[in-house]
């Protein structure tokens, strides 16, 4: 098979997956409906705006309302209708049995996921382009700053891209229970994001509360550092779930985890709010940790061979960067060391509460994983069990906190051996000063023990992997 070098067809410049998805997507009923609905709603919004301008007294309130309505009407397709399509993108292909035929071509799992995301974003851009004339029309009607409006569109677009990456990341999961949980979570997330973002955008657009510029430069710099990382993470999570076992996605995902910490450190160095930067990094890092700990452990010789060819250094790297929960558990040591070091460097571990927050966050992430790997190391339902345990701990925390409030007894102390409960209590400021030391010690010990347990659980699979490599024959470990 040969390939010609000339590219007369524009589609040849694009990913095959993108061409396919665009062909399908633009003809889809959802896109057509979203497109026409947006147009109709925009026209209505402008008509109302015209009416409000002619109203004279009381026009200010009306303009406020219409401004909110305008962003709401743009927000629904951008933050809901288009991203929600990502949720079915890979699932539909898995269900129809079409995905594995695509794997037999030259397309990698990441290119497939990226093609899906790009196609959805191109369609979203088409929607945005169709909205732009109305943005300009609002400017001519008065009471808005067109630069701020365009910035707002940009922010909505960015949020849409991130949401779409998130829905694509969740789309390979076939379990009905998980999909139902994700759907509920997404709807709540959408409502929270839509109203939060639109509140900010609408408010700022009218009042120009940030002195003419929409947001400080750190916001944009942070967005440049974190948004692409979030999108890439979502696509990598999706790709690693659909990829054939011979593809190693662990390296990129885990390096991305380290990148998030370094990005937060860079922001802090440049004078941004260090706490906020690390908070964003840690939220995204949580996704990396949960996803890697949920990876099934499979032995595929070809994944290990590139590491082994590098000698002792390669063998050491294989311990941290091969797919599966075994090496993910070891990778936690690197993350903890890098994260702890950077947080300490930027004064984020200066007081006990900060330390407890970080330690309990680590415990929140790994304690349920340790329990699951202790009881059923090779379970296929890790993620389902993990989410169930997190719900259980949240429910226990909620109940004990209520009981403590009613009885005026320090009952929340009972929860300190459970790091997920400690994390929730810390997060909501329910740990009193006098309890801080006890919480810190117990939670710290349990978290360290959880990590130790996870690592201990990796010994048998590691022996199996070693034996399989020595046999020089593929074997499931």
């Amino acid at each position: 098979m040969t390939s010609t070098s000339t590219r007369a067809d524009f589609g040849d410049w694009l990913s095959p997956m993108l061409v396919k998805e665009l062909r399908q997507g633009i003809r889809s009923k959802v896109f057509m409906a979203a497109f026409f609905l947006t147009q109709v709603l925009m026209i209505l919004s402008v008509v109302f705006n015209l009416t409000a301008v002619n109203e004279g007294d009381g026009a200010g309130k009306m303009v406020d309302f219409l401004n909110g309505l305008f962003w709401f009407l743009i927000g629904v397709p951008l933050l809901f209708l288009m991203p929600i399509r990502g949720f079915g993108s890979l699932y539909g292909e898995i269900k129809a049995g079409t995905l594995e035929l695509v794997f037999l071509t030259r397309l990698s799992a990441l290119r497939i996921a990226a093609g899906k995301w790009t196609a959805l974003m191109v369609q979203t851009l088409l929607l945005v382009a169709a909205v732009l004339p109305y943005v300009l029309l609002r400017y001519f009607l008065g009471s808005v700053d067109v630069v701020q409006d365009l910035q707002s569109v940009l922010i909505l677009l960015l949020a849409s891209g991130m949401l779409t990456a998130a829905t694509i990341a969740l789309s390979p999961y076939e379990s009905k229970i998980l999909r139902a949980l994700f759907s509920v979570g997404m709807i709540f997330g959408f409502i929270f994001l839509l109203f939060g973002l639109i509140g900010v955008i609408a408010g700022n657009a009218i009042r120009g509360s940030m002195g003419g510029s929409f947001a400080p430069w750190t916001f944009y710099f942070g967005a440049i550092l974190f948004a692409p990382a979030f999108i890439f993470l979502g696509l990598e999570v999706a790709a690693s779930h659909i990829a054939p076992p011979a593809e190693n996605h662990a390296i990129r995902k885990r390096l991305l985890g380290i990148y998030l910490l370094l990005a937060a450190a860079l922001l802090a160095l440049l004078g941004a709010n260090a706490a906020a930067a690390y908070r964003v990094a840690l939220v995204l890092l949580g996704v990396v940790v949960i996803d890697t700990l949920a990876e099934p452990q499979r032995f595929v010789r070809s994944v290990y061979m590139p590491f082994l060819k590098q000698g002792p250094a390669g063998k050491t790297l294989a311990l941290f960067f091969t797919p599966g929960w075994v090496s993910a558990s070891w990778f936690l040591i690197i993350l903890t060391a890098v994260g702890g070091g950077l947080l300490g460097l930027h004064g984020q571990l200066d007081d006990r509460e900060d330390v407890l927050r970080i330690v309990s966050l680590l415990g929140w992430l790994i304690f349920p994983a340790a329990l699951i790997r202790l009881a059923a190391p090779e379970t296929k339902y890790f993620l389902g069990l993990y989410i169930a345990l997190q719900f259980l701990f949240a429910a226990v925390t909620f109940l004990v906190n209520i009981m403590a409030g009613i009885s005026q007894e320090p009952m929340t102390m009972w929860l300190c051996p459970l790091p997920p409960c400690t994390f929730l209590l810390t997060f909501f400021g329910q740990v009193k000063d006098m309890q801080m030391n006890d919480f810190l010690w117990v939670t710290g010990l349990v978290t360290a023990a959880s990590l130790g347990l996870l690592l201990a659980r990796t010994i048998t699979p590691l022996r199996d992997i070693r034996a399989s490599l020595l046999q020089n024959s593929p074997k499931d470990a």
């Binding site: 071509t105 011979a246 070809s302 024959s473």
Partner: protein, 312 residues
């Protein structure tokens, strides 16, 4: 002697405690058409999926064109075309666009891709329906489209899993003809099917798999032959067949296997061509009113059932 294009050695695949494939080994020479036969759950699809890199062996090895499926999956994929027993359709996509997508995905550009898509559409007789949405195709057209997709990168080896399942007789004949044409082009074809008579007509070799083990590997003739020492003949007579039955019972080395309305199917021991001619002459000379006499080939289905009875 040239290296076999498919080499499978001690292949095993476990799903938890279930051993789906147990020590399967075989070799297939370039350009041969090989039928892969087995009951449901015998391990056919699992073996085929490992051959095309969609699944990994628990142990053992598969080499396609000298490349190991585990170590060099990319190289194997370039050489193999996989047609599953069921393939999904895409919404909002035409037949042409479907093949065009796979052409792009296999790295064909511009005119080269268009030419390749055209060739495949003509070969599979899809050229006239290139603009039709693929989710409106009949089963037969869909299978031809699926075969077209399998051929788009011009693979040396075709692995076809139950390609004729669910097709009507006309579509089945059309499909069989396409496989014959591909065999003439020198492709190595590894094909599984439940329609054993068709496999017998198409294939140079047959592989029987039962409970994850290969139980037979040989030519179609070696299976349909009743063996060199016996033959089954069908004899039909004019009028009442009782005279025939009585004659057979009295004759040495003959046994009625089926009593028919106007005749019988008879197993003849130590029979070759000359013996059978002698038998017919004797029947006629003894006054049995024979109006039809012919040797019955053993059906592949019977061979398959006999083999399953004989396997552990």
């Amino acid at each position: 002697m040239t290296e076999p294009i498919i080499q499978v050695e001690n292949l095993e695949r476990d799903f938890g405690n279930v051993k789906a494939v147990k020590g399967v080994s075989f070799e297939i020479a370039r350009g041969k058409v090989v039928g892969f036969i087995g009951a449901n759950g015998a391990g056919k699809t699992t073996t085929m999926r490992m051959m095309v890199t969609l699944d990994s062996p628990t142990s053992g090895s598969i080499r396609i064109g000298g490349r190991d499926v585990t170590d060099e999956p990319g190289e194997v994929r370039r050489r193999v075309g996989w047609m599953p027993d069921a393939y999904g359709t895409y919404e909002n996509m035409t037949v042409f666009e479907y093949l065009d997508f796979y052409g792009r995905a296999f790295g064909y550009k511009d005119e080269e891709r268009r030419k390749r898509v055209r060739e495949v559409m003509e070969f599979t007789d899809l050229a006239s329906i290139g603009d039709r949405p693929m989710d409106t195709l009949s089963k037969g057209m869909g299978q031809r489209l699926c075969l077209g997709r399998t051929l788009i990168h011009d693979p040396e080896v075709l692995v076809l899993d139950e390609p004729a399942a669910g097709l009507d007789p006309k579509a089945r004949i059309e499909f069989k003809n396409l496989v014959r044409l591909l065999a003439q082009q020198g492709k190595t074809i590894f094909i599984s099917s439940h329609i054993l008579s068709e496999l017998g007509e198409m294939c140079d070799y047959l592989l029987f798999i039962d409970a994850g083990r290969i139980v037979h590997h040989g030519t179609t003739e070696s299976l349909t032959d009743h063996g060199s020492v016996e033959a089954v003949v069908e004899i039909r007579v004019q009028g009442d067949p009782e005279t025939l039955y009585a004659w057979i019972i009295a004759a040495p080395g003959m046994q009625i296997t089926d009593r028919l309305k106007n005749g019988a199917r008879v197993r003849v021991s130590h029979a070759d061509g000359e013996d059978l001619t002698g038998l017919l002459k004797t029947l006629v000379s003894d006054g049995v009113p024979v109006n039809a006499f012919f040797k019955v080939e053993r059906r592949l289905e019977d061979a398959f059932v006999d083999m399953l009875k004989g396997s552990p």
